[in-house]
Symmetry: C2
Subunit: 187 residues, 2 copies
DNA sequence: ACCTGAACACCGTTCAAGT
DNA sequence: ACCTGAACACCGTTCAAGT
C-alpha cells in the first residue's frame, strides 16, 4: 500500500475525524499527514475541503438513515416497528456521535441541505408509524417531529451529562419510558 | 466612543457572532475589524480566543438559564410551572439559536464544562417538577432528561426543517401536544 | 493518473513600542 | 491603561513540475 490514496480512503478517514472531533476541526493538512501524503495531493481527488465533507456526509446519510429505514420498513405491525426503531436508534452508540456533530449545522450553506434531507426522511418514517397507530395526519406529524427531536436531544445530553448512568448505557426502563410516553394512545 | 473597547463590548459582540454563525466561525481578527480596533488590542482584554468564548458562554448561562429558572421557581403549582416553562422555552426564539450552536459541544474541553452545568441545571429543574407531580424519583429523572432532550432537539429540527410551519412559529397545538405527552400521569 | 513542493492568503498569538 | 504594528506558525488553496 504505497502512498496512493483513493477517494474513499479520504472519505472514510474524514467521517472518522468528524465523529470524534467535529466538522470544524477537520483539517486537510492533518488528514494528509495521517494518510502519509502531502496536502497538495488532496486537491487531485477533491475540489476543496467542502467537497470532502460533502462526500463524508453522503456516506453518513446512506449508512445511518437509508439503511436503517430499509431494514425496518418490512415490519408490518407499527407498534413493533416503532419499538425496534427506538431500540436501534437509541442503542446505536456508533452513529450517535456523528449525529451530535452534525445536528446543529442544519443552517450551514454546504451541509445543511444534506442534514435537512436526512431529518425529513426520519420524521416522515416515524410520522407514518403514528398514522398507522391511529393518529390523525396532523397529530401523527407533530408526534413524529417530537420523537425525532427527542432522539437528537438524547445523544446530545449523553455528552452533556457524562456522569449520567442511564444515558451512558441506555437501559431498558428508559426505552420503556420512551415507548410509554411517545406511543401514548391517540385522541 | 473612541476606539477604546471594554471586556463586555467584546463579550456581547462574541455572543452575537456565536448565535448567528457558530463558535467555530468566531474570528478574533474579524471581530476586531468590526469593533474598529486591531486584533493586537484584543490580547490586552483576554488571554486568548478561548477566554473570549468562555466569557460569552458564562453570560449565556446567566441570561438563558439562571434567570429563567429564578423567574419560574416561585410558581407553587407544578403543572402551571411546567406549562409556563414549556411556553417560555419553546417560545423563546432568541435563545434557541445559541442553544443550537452549543448543544453539540458538550464534549469540548473548553466549553464542555459550562454546557454540562447548564444542562444539569435544566434537567434538575424539570425533574423536580415531575417529582412534585407524583412521579417516583427515578421516573421523574428519566422524564426530566427526556423533556430537556426534546427541547434541544426541537430547536435543532427548526433549522433542519426550515419549511415546517409548526416548527417555524410554535403553535399552541404543538405546546398542548407536548404537555399531553410529557406530563402524562405517572404510574 | 497521482503526487510533490513552493507559493500565497487568512487568522491566532506574541511582544516591543507607542500614547 | 489601552492600542498599534510587525513578526511567526498553522492551514486552505493553487499550480507548475515531477513520476
Amino acid at each position: 500500500m504505497g502512498p496512493t490514496k483513493t477517494r474513499q480512503d479520504w472519505t472514510s478517514a474524514a467521517l472518522g475525524v468528524i465523529a470524534s472531533v467535529g466538522v470544524e476541526r477537520l483539517s486537510v493538512e492533518r488528514l494528509a499527514t495521517e494518510l502519509g501524503v502531502t496536502k497538495g495531493s488532496f486537491y487531485w481527488h477533491f475540489s476543496d475541503r467542502a467537497a470532502l465533507i460533502e462526500s463524508a456526509l453522503l456516506w453518513w446519510e446512506e449508512q445511518g438513515t437509508d439503511r436503517v429505514i430499509a431494514e425496518l420498513e418490512g415490519i408490518a405491525d407499527p407498534a413493533a416497528r416503532l419499538r425496534l426503531l427506538l431500540l436501534t436508534a437509541f442503542g446505536d452508540l456508533e452513529h450517535g456521535p456523528v449525529d451530535v456533530a452534525l445536528a446543529a449545522r442544519g443552517g450551514d450553506a454546504l451541509i445543511g441541505p444534506i442534514i435537512q434531507r436526512v431529518m425529513a426522511k426520519r420524521v416522515d418514517f416515524v410520522t407514518e408509524i403514528f398514522a398507522e397507530l391511529g393518529s390523525t395526519p396532523a397529530q401523527a406529524r407533530r408526534r413524529g417531529r417530537i420523537a425525532v427531536a427527542t432522539y437528537i436531544g438524547h445523544f446530545q445530553l449523553r455528552v452533556a451529562l457524562p456522569n449520567d448512568r442511564y444515558l451512558a448505557k441506555p437501559a431498558k426502563p428508559y426505552i420503556d419510558e420512551l415507548m410509554e410516553i411517545i406511543a401514548v394512545p391517540s385522541t
